[in-house]
């Protein structure tokens, strides 16, 4: 791991009128580290994720990102062009519903190739080669490259969405409930895949989930949110094995044991 964090979040708050979305969140994310944000519905997980990933303007606070040149930049002091460029090159965003993150009416190959073309790739053969390679890495067979995601199953769509995000070699990936809506066996395979990719590529990731099992499998550290506040923060194993806050204890004890 390098000497500097990749992302510095300080004092981020978001209010919806008088209601709190999330309040006074501080953390740092290091390269190659996976951070899980857990909590029940309405606890502010997704609001926080959107604030960090420039999809939602926070009411207060700053989010600084270490660019490839090593300098920290405040995301909200960048121009929109720079922010959007960052989002489609150095970042990825995996939506809960693959239809939000994919272009459902163009082929799988074009879905994976879009980011490459957006940064100026103009060689059809090479784009297709890269797309084929990435489909293979997410376990989609190469003969499905010209099929539209509409013809894919839920699990395949989610894997395609991951391939589409990783093709430009991002350093930071945001995931919003990446396994939501998938059945258990498909979930397990997807988690396996994501864990492998994150390890191989040395990605940093912020994963929002209400599923503690997902957090346990994927993340190194985790933050527990309740009513917009971060109430507990620590190494995943520590938080899950030895929860300190009453709410976290409740959360951990309410996992169904089969």
């Amino acid at each position: 791991m390098s000497d500097n964090p990749l992302l510095k979040v300080s004092g981020v708050s978001k209010f919806y009128g008088s209601r709190i979305g999330c309040k006074d969140v501080n953390f740092e994310l290091w390269p190659g580290e996976v951070l899980a944000i857990v909590g029940e519905s309405g606890s502010g997980k997704t609001t926080l994720l959107n604030c960090i990933s420039t999809r939602l303007l926070p009411t207060a606070g700053s989010v600084e990102y270490r660019m490839r040149d090593g300098n920290f930049r405040d995301l909200y002091h960048m121009s929109e062009a720079e922010r959007r460029f960052l989002m489609r090159t150095d970042w990825g965003f995996v939506h809960q519903n693959p239809a939000d993150g994919l272009r459902m009416t163009v082929s799988a190959g074009a879905n994976v190739g879009e980011r490459l073309m957006a940064v100026g790739d103009r060689h059809y053969g090479k784009i297709r080669e890269t797309a084929t390679d990435w489909l293979g890495r997410v376990e989609i067979s190469a003969d499905r490259i010209d099929d539209q995601p509409r013809a894919f199953s839920g699990g395949m769509r989610q894997r395609l969405q991951i391939a589409r995000n990783l093709v430009t070699g991002p350093r930071l990936v945001f995931m919003d409930e990446p396994t939501g809506g998938l059945d258990v066996s498909v979930q397990a395979r997807l988690l396996d895949l994501v864990r492998g990719l994150v390890n191989d590529l040395g990605l940093a990731a912020i994963v929002v989930t209400h599923d503690l099992a997902v957090a346990r499998l994927l993340s190194h550290r985790m933050m527990v949110m309740k009513d917009g506040f971060v109430i507990e923060h620590g190494l995943t194993d520590r938080v899950l094995d030895d929860p300190r806050e009453p709410y976290t204890q409740l959360l951990v004890s309410s996992i169904l044991q089969v």
């Binding site: 959007r84 074009a110 190739g113």
Partner: protein, 294 residues
């Protein structure tokens, strides 16, 4: 006609409207390929008949101008005839079918075969000015994409074409990049005409009446058709020559002759075809007929 009766202003539009449109045109010329919004007026013809082009022409035409109007290359089809008659009536200008004599050429979907020269203005009638429209339905988003020069999506479309058809199958309204900046829809002209837009000596103005947009390509401006390195842009080629004038390397229309599969290919540009025949060129269809008549 009694002098007391109200008449049309010269070229139908009132002077304030023309002024507004000219300002939009000047802005469009200053930013090649950028779509300038303008307050499009109702014209005495339906949308889809060239209301945008007519407004542009009405704003730039003067009593000394010579107007040519073509519809798919032809001077004698309904759209061309009625717009020409319109300007004869409301502006009393000279009209012509000869490309080289015209100062303003209003066109629906073709660029004349004869090379346009300095001082000529080509006015296009545009149905849908936004090249990204069928890829991204939101106007707010397409404007942002133009502003930030995010044109990756355009290539996604071309990628899909190759993946499905083995080649870029877009044959008309083929997207171009103007002056290295804005991606532009050249109106539904066949891609055959795209190279003629590049470094043209003539001024090219585009008017979309229903969509309320004007854009322009000033003379001597780069107009590059988008493509891939390994699938370069190509124009259509035809196996036959024109059946009437024998022209080669021009855009041809297919004309069905009977219900037994008979067909002929003729120049889409009628003026070009007539001019060649006047100069003694004869195509395959005319020559054997003459022999048969003898």
């Amino acid at each position: 006609m009694s002098a007391d009766l109200a008449t049309y202003n010269f070229a139908y539009l009132d002077e304030q409207t023309k002024r507004m449109i000219r300002r939009a045109i000047l802005k469009a010329i200053s930013i090649p390929g950028y779509q300038v919004p303008f307050a499009s007026r109702e014209m005495p013809m339906p949308y889809g008949w060239g209301t945008g082009g007519v407004q542009v022409t009405a704003s730039i035409i003067g009593p000394e101008d010579v107007l040519k109007v073509i519809d798919q290359g032809a001077d004698d089809t309904t759209n061309a005839v009625s717009i020409r008659a319109f300007f004869q009536k409301v502006a009393d200008v000279a009209v012509t079918t000869h490309t080289k004599d015209a100062t303003i050429i209003q066109t629906r979907h073709r660029i004349p075969e004869a090379k346009l020269t300095e001082g000529q203005v080509l006015v296009y009638q545009v149905p849908i000015p936004e090249p990204l429209r069928f890829l991204e339905p939101r106007e707010t988003e397409t404007r942002k994409m133009h502003a930030l020069e995010e044109y990756g999506l355009m290539h996604v479309k071309l990628y899909e074409d190759i993946a499905i058809n083995g080649r870029i199958s877009k044959t008309y309204a083929y997207p171009v990049k103007v002056d290295g900046r804005y991606v532009m829809d050249p109106s539904p002209t066949p891609k055959f005409d795209n190279p003629k837009m590049h470094m043209s000596d003539a001024l090219q103005l585009f008017g979309a009446g229903r969509e309320k947009r004007i854009y322009a390509v000033p003379p001597h401006t780069d107009v590059v058709s988008l493509d891939f390195e390994d699938y370069p842009f190509e124009i259509q080629t035809f196996e036959q020559d024109c059946a009437l004038c024998g022209a080669h390397g021009v855009y041809l229309d297919e004309v069905v002759l009977d219900d037994k599969g008979g067909r002929m290919f003729v120049c889409s540009d009628t003026d070009h075809c007539e001019d060649r025949r006047e100069h003694g060129h004869v195509g395959a269809m005319l020559a054997p007929n003459q022999e048969a008549a003898e």
